[in-house]
């Protein structure tokens, strides 16, 4: 079990190919205010996955007809850099990127207080610089940080992580190697402070019990991820205070 293509994914001691325990996150790094031009920006890394997010707005869109009279319109683009994958990826948006842009936008809609800015648009641009599994969840985490960094009022911060199933074992924060051999991949995004799961997908086969257990694992980790987000935002303002 857990061994595919000559690679041992779960050892007899229950450790993963990179030495992590099943419920262990990769090394997480977060930084805000990394770009000059954007109103808000963030760089988030989960192990080898590096994702940059930038927010522009609320602003008046060039296409005036897309605005709403009672709230801001949210626009999200999830995009992978051509050099982010092992084989070069065409920069033209793939069907996958179109779907993930939608899924990430819908994960943010319920936390952005968009009714404060009618007739405007808030743009969120997510660029995957290096893909090593979990790019949508890392992208959503980066987007949440960039929105907060832009000073856009949020009901809560969103964090995200994927749970995978390998040889029947549930593992947290799967990387690319694990994803390639996993029986299932379950990305979860949530705003723990308001108790809402806002991104939820399952690709693969799982029982109801496994889904419940995987959700517990993910939500537990997301609480920690959101704490890290808060810490990064706090330290930014502490830094500004010292100037």
């Amino acid at each position: 079990m857990g061994k595919k293509g000559g690679q041992v994914l779960i050892t007899e001691e229950g450790l993963r190919h990179d030495g992590r325990r099943p419920d262990e996150l990769r090394q997480v790094r977060m930084e805000v205010d990394v770009l000059e031009n954007a109103d808000g920006s963030a760089l988030v890394e989960f192990g080898g996955t590096k994702v940059l997010a930038a927010v522009y707005g609320p602003r008046e869109p060039i296409q005036k007809y897309i605005v709403l009279p009672d709230k801001a319109v949210l626009r999200v683009r999830y995009h992978m850099a051509p050099f982010s994958t092992s084989e070069r990826k065409s920069p033209a948006p793939s069907r996958r990127e179109v779907e993930l842009s939608k899924v990430i936008r819908e994960a943010l809609e319920s936390v952005v207080l968009s009714d404060l800015y009618p007739r405007t648009v808030i743009d969120v641009f997510i660029e995957v610089l290096q893909a090593d599994g979990g790019t949508r969840t890392t992208g959503l985490t980066a987007a949440s940080l960039a929105l907060a960094d832009a000073g856009i009022p949020l009901r809560a911060l969103v964090g995200a992580v994927a749970v995978g199933k390998i040889g029947g074992t549930l593992v947290l924060d799967i990387d690319e190697v694990e994803d390639n051999y996993a029986e299932a991949d379950m990305p979860v995004g949530a705003a723990p402070d308001i108790g809402l799961v806002t991104l939820f997908q399952i690709n693969g086969v799982m029982t109801k019990e496994e889904v419940a257990k995987g959700l517990d694992m993910a939500l537990n980790a997301i609480e920690r991820i959101v704490e890290m987000e808060k810490e990064v935002l706090r330290s930014k303002y502490a830094r500004v205070g010292e100037v």
């Binding site: 949210l74 997908q201 109801k208």
Partner: protein
Amino acid sequence: MSTTPFKIPIVPSIKRETYLNLYSRGLRLDNRDLYTPRRVEIETGVVEKANGSALVSLGNTKVMAGVKIEVGTPFRDTPDQGVLTVHAEFVPLASPTFEPGPPDENAIELARVVDRSLREVGAVDLSSLVIREGEKVWIVWVDLYILDHDGNLFDASMLAAMAALKTASLPDYEEYETGEIEVLRDKSQGPLKVDHTVVTVTTAKIGNYIIVDPTLDEEAISDARMVVAVDEQGRIVGLQKTGPHGYTREELERVLNISLSASKVYFKSLEEALARQG
């Protein structure tokens, strides 16, 4: 780029209170209870030129699925497998909100969710589709054609895809000395090998209520929707949260239970239709 929908129907949001009122008494506007899908009708073999086809009505929603099987080359990382591809077209004749043009994010999402739910469980036996390993395999194209949109395109599309695949036949072929393969479209070498049956159950969250198989009006007033794909063994073989709001942990648990139990209705409809026409 994904944008907040800015063409919002106004009538349904006025109806929201009426709907919530009905739900509190366990009723729907069309006399259903909260957890029963609309009437399902499935007709197979509706397009003779397709290798498999089906027309599904779910209430007033109508979806046609056509399966075409062609010869092609396998993916480099799976030389010993055929290919399954799902596409969805939101044909402009189906709804005043559909525009001609390439598939938008909703059509892409629909096709990808159906595709994943069939693929991950191995619904179609792809290893049975090899003609010459690494060189020639059968490519199974499933094209979903939305003909009339009254909500819940996911469940209707999955039923149509499944009915079309389960009644599809693999064409025969002739292999020339040059290695060329000619498809003999009028001759069949037997049915397409389908190992699992998959249905999706879509629920909408409206206020504190979870309802099965939302109509177009109900979708318009819903906070979010969940599409749960289930196979004949009751396993979850795919899932997608769609729509702008979120779910509490407790609601997710409820959604899974409701979906697993409602899936039986779809399995029964599918089984009956295939037995009748099969």
